[in-house]
Symmetry: C2
Subunit: 407 residues, 2 copies
């Protein structure tokens, strides 16, 4: 994975400050250790799930689903997987009914994932599914040690896995929250972790990623008042859910009250997919307010031999330049062309991440790259990267409404 920045290098002092802070965070923030974990227990657990289980369903929302979905949807188009993975995330009844129509309950194993163990959406859905299929062996629960969910799971003698200590939901994809559903579907989780580990090693041990990530983080933080919308423009349909994962990671970590001021700050994430969004959002980047940075993501080798055929269409000869071109060459030329057009504007911060191909290793690297970048920027703009106090107010109001409804 290569990340080329087209904006100036940053000052040494904030880089050193951010690096030191992140180095120390390793002592009390759990996600940094995840790339180096031993996956034996997870892989052994997978062996317990019978071979006639065809579907894995994650009942979880936000940090409990977005990471596994990002990896699964990236790998699925290029690898034959032994099981299908579904995500039941919404209280939308029409969506729930449609998802249930796709699976046979007896051939499905359900992973109920809730860090706190009391997520409203997760339990509304779980209660419904449990009323249809009340076999405790069909469920595995993933939650914090000691949560009400763990205690409940014990009463029905169901299997329980724990989140590691001090790993927040949106940083949990490389914990059992993401690894178990992925491993159950045939994703190579060791390779995923190796990709993450490579970025970690490079960052903490003065490798290529240290300089790159620090330059990028300091630039983003220093200019956050101007360039406060950060677009991720990925040239592959398979990165669509990676973009959704990024949106949660970035928005929920960096939209906060500052720790040492009375002010709100926030960096707004936007996920875009090329070339489709050239015909949608690009105009706004190109001619709109200068408040957006853009990171392109390109897959160097799609490992696909589909070629645009050598057909000349009468009256459309201007399109003959496409003839004989592999689609994978075309899509990457489109990425390069849009990037050059934006660079010509001079006042839009641009960088590009190139990943060699579609593999577990590379998506693992991309995930850890973004987690480190988020931690660095959070430190530099003076927020608590790891909490989300702003979502509580709505939950309290909902609880009041639910009580009023009962009363």
């Amino acid at each position: 994975m290569i990340n080329k920045l087209y904006f100036p290098c940053s000052d040494e002092k904030p880089k050193q400050h951010a690096f030191e802070a992140i180095r120390k965070e390793q002592e009390y923030i759990g996600y940094y250790a995840l790339p180096d974990q031993d996956t034996a227990a997870i892989l052994q657990y997978c062996e317990k799930i019978p071979n006639d289980i065809e579907n894995i369903v994650v009942i979880g929302i936000g940090g409990s689903s977005l990471g596994a979905k990002a990896v699964y949807e990236f790998i699925r188009p290029v690898k034959t997987l032994p099981r299908k993975l579904y995500f039941f995330e919404s209280t939308d009844p029409v969506n729930l009914t449609a998802l249930l129509a796709d699976i046979i309950l007896d051939k499905t194993h359900f992973l109920v994932i809730s860090k706190s163990g009391t997520t409203i959406e997760t339990f509304a859905i779980y209660k419904y599914i449990y009323s249809l299929h009340s076999n405790p062996d069909a469920y595995t629960f993933i939650t914090d040690p000691g949560s009400p969910l763990e205690k409940y799971a014990q009463t029905i003698h169901a299997q329980i896995l724990h989140l590691p200590e001090n790993v927040g939901g949106r940083f949990s994809v490389l914990s059992p929250v993401g690894l178990l559903p992925l491993a159950l579907c045939g994703i190579d989780i060791d390779s995923l972790l190796q990709g993450a580990s490579n970025i970690k090693e490079s960052f903490f041990n003065a490798g290529y990623m240290q300089e790159t990530l620090l330059n990028k983080a300091v630039y983003y933080a220093k200019h956050h008042a101007q360039y406060h919308i950060n677009c991720l423009f990925a040239y592959s349909e398979s990165l669509k859910y990676f973009c959704e994962w990024y949106v949660q990671l970035w928005g929920e970590s960096l939209g906060k009250h500052q720790r040492h001021s009375a002010f709100h700050v926030g960096l707004t994430p936007i996920g875009l997919i090329g070339p489709k969004d050239q015909h949608s959002f690009l105009q706004l980047i190109m001619e709109g307010t200068r408040d957006k940075s853009v990171t392109f993501i390109k897959i160097e080798d799609f490992n696909d031999s589909t070629v645009i055929p050598d057909i000349s269409l009468p009256h459309l000869e201007s399109l003959d330049a496409l003839n004989g071109l592999p689609f994978e060459t075309l899509i990457n030329m489109q990425c390069d062309s849009v990037m050059e057009a934006l660079l010509n504007e001079k006042d839009i911060p641009i960088d590009i991440i190139s990943i060699p191909n579609t593999s577990e290793y590379n998506i693992g690297a991309l995930i850890f790259y973004y987690e480190l970048l988020t931690s660095l920027v959070g430190e530099l703009i003076d927020v608590n990267t790891y909490d989300q106090p702003g979502v509580e107010a709505g939950k309290i109001i909902l609880k009041e409404k639910l009580s009023a409804q009962k009363g």
Copy 2:
């Protein structure tokens, strides 16, 4: 459809200015007339497509696909449709191969949609599919009169439909661009147009929507420098692609150089789906920079009887308040709770659109509401709402790269 605004009414003068400008635009901007068109020709054309055609494929990108997809994905979960609708939009080869694996060519009719008639993505895909399936009867072309695509289609004696005059791609969903694929799949396009017509009538003839849309547009325009990110928070999975349509409409129309200044302006659209994005983007709205407005969309009646069962789980008794609650009540209570939490912040502009149920009529109304709002805001922030000059630079660079490749 009801739209309640929780921000102050706007001054009369800019409202009158905007209304007059839009009233006059009807003379030369084509989309305003679309709700009142006669659909007989489109419905007759549908009769020509053999009954054994099971799939309709749109080969088109941006304005040629997003509108039909928004309507189809809204209606599909609640109506049994006679055909499936697919969208081939990307030059991503892995995605193209996956889509082709889903259809039988002999049972598929292809709609090749390109306003200009020279869209790179559309022709790369068309050439590939035509090389696999070279029967002209399997294709219908939709393009501007006199375009190179029309001339080509004539040489192979294929069927051609036209875009009406002065209808831009992103405003074309209620033209044959959207109506033909939708009608071919059993969507009631007359009802769709009636919904749009109702909003049009109400707006232009001093109905409820006139005051509402003008108040909202003037508020958005007046405060566009502060509240320049406009979130659409829809509480239904079926509105996911409506959000994507909105992002194109809003971003590409309102991200521009001003007509009478040297400055860039831009309103940034964000599409969110509840309750999922409560666990992602909500923190940023709640505690981040005060630069976002939020419009909630709620479906009053999902027409779904799924109820959370009356099961009490040991140690999780705090969730018993959910027992017996219909999911459709819960999701709307979630919407109300988040809206109340944001209203309590006092400095976030909020409004809510309630639609009675999931129907063609209601999505038609929603579409025309957003088209009118876009036109009004574009007029008020002094941009040309209907062009997209910013996307040309990248196209020119791509053409140079393609020529260099050949040379």
